[in-house]
Symmetry: C2
DNA sequence: TATTACTTGCTGGCTATCACGCAAGTTTCT
DNA sequence: AGAAACTTGCGTGATAGCCAGCAAGTAATA
């Protein structure tokens, strides 16, 4: 058991954790601002308040840093807000997704941008995105199924198709918001349009 | 007026035009396969069947090549299929957009990937994408307006919001198709889901 | 508690790699 | 022959990652 460090100092564990967090934050900010191309060891180190050697020391390689960034962004999503699955929770998901991007969350933006760039990325990263994709789709299908069961959603829908389309619209809208640096009122409009479209598509 | 070249040879104009086309095709293929990061002067030259200096000779800089690629992709979209604006033409647009990506059109894929990467890109490129964006949105709104006028679309919709959402879903779905290398039957399903969603959202 | 041995965090000089683009030279058309 | 298309050699700049060493924290000993 590590002894408590003296006042004004940090334990090795504290140092490491703080460094890791600052590096991930810096990397997220750089990706959000300029894509993965803007992530250089030099810049990450500088923005995090360290030297340019820090990334290699902490993560080994730049790719490992990006992988850690993706992993962290996934875990940040957090538990569902509404307790019970169904149309209500689905609507919450949609609003939350767009609002998070619109609010300027750099980790969420970085995740999305890295996903959009992942065509030429390392297989490891692509696999992580695929996994996240499938999990997201499963969650949405769960809401759809519950909605059909409780009567909030009409039974005739193609759940698989709706799921894919819904994920697509969220990503497309979010990328648009990031790329065009859309104003909050504009993003609110998109959010409402998506919700309205969802409503009419799913209502019995 | 250029004289007819001898058999087996080409006029200078033919040489230049063929070279330009081969370079654009090569660049599109590279972007489609691995994003703009995969586009190096060496690779473009090799894939097009020239030396590594050919891009600088033809376009001056690499950025100019990418700009030309974007310009060309815009012009490739071509005239609308259905003559009269309205819901029918809108549905055609949607189907055509997704089918083009799904069919593996490298220029269309390259355009979309470059758009998705354009966060950190040169202002010139970003402006081109913004312009294309606005034009696309205008075309869709034209269809919506016509549809409302002829009664095919109910008047209560938020045309601006629907337009943005529609563009978003097309881009998100296309990126998904490219990134996950989706099978044709899967893309057909997404296409039908989007069309169905559109139908229910817009029908009177 | 004070000293000493050890571990871990962190730095920055160094090298190898890679890509862009210029400029001079070569081939192909007119 | 002259012009244009195209190639090749070269310089420059950016970046990733290795590694030797310094500094900060931790554990052992007296």
């Amino acid at each position: 058991m590590p002894r408590q460090a003296a006042a004004g100092t940090r334990t090795q564990r504290q140092r490491r954790e703080e460094t890791e967090r600052r590096l991930l934050d810096a990397a997220a900010a750089l990706v959000a601002a300029g894509g993965s191309r803007a992530v250089t060891l030099q810049e990450v180190g500088r923005l995090a308040g360290y030297s340019r050697g820090i990334v290699n020391h902490m993560f080994g390689t730049k790719d490992a840093l990006l992988a850690a960034l993706v992993t962290e962004a996934q875990q940040r999503v957090g538990p569902p807000q509404a307790s019970s699955p169904g149309l209500g929770r689905l609507r919450q998901r949609v609003a939350r997704y767009i609002d998070q991007i619109s609010a300027g969350d750099e980790h969420a933006r970085a995740f999305l941008l890295l996903w959009a760039e992942s065509v030429g990325a390392a297989p490891q990263l692509r696999a992580m995105f695929a996994e996240r994709d499938d999990l997201f789709a499963r969650e949405i299908r769960e809401d759809l199924s519950a909605g059909i069961a409780d009567g909030g959603i009409r039974p005739g829908i193609d759940a698989e198709g709706v799921t894919l389309a819904l994920i697509a619209v969220l990503r497309g809208a979010s990328l648009h918001i990031i790329i065009r640096d859309a104003a909050p009122d504009s993003t609110a409009r998109v959010r409402e349009a998506v919700l309205a479209c969802l409503q009419r598509s799913l209502e019995p």
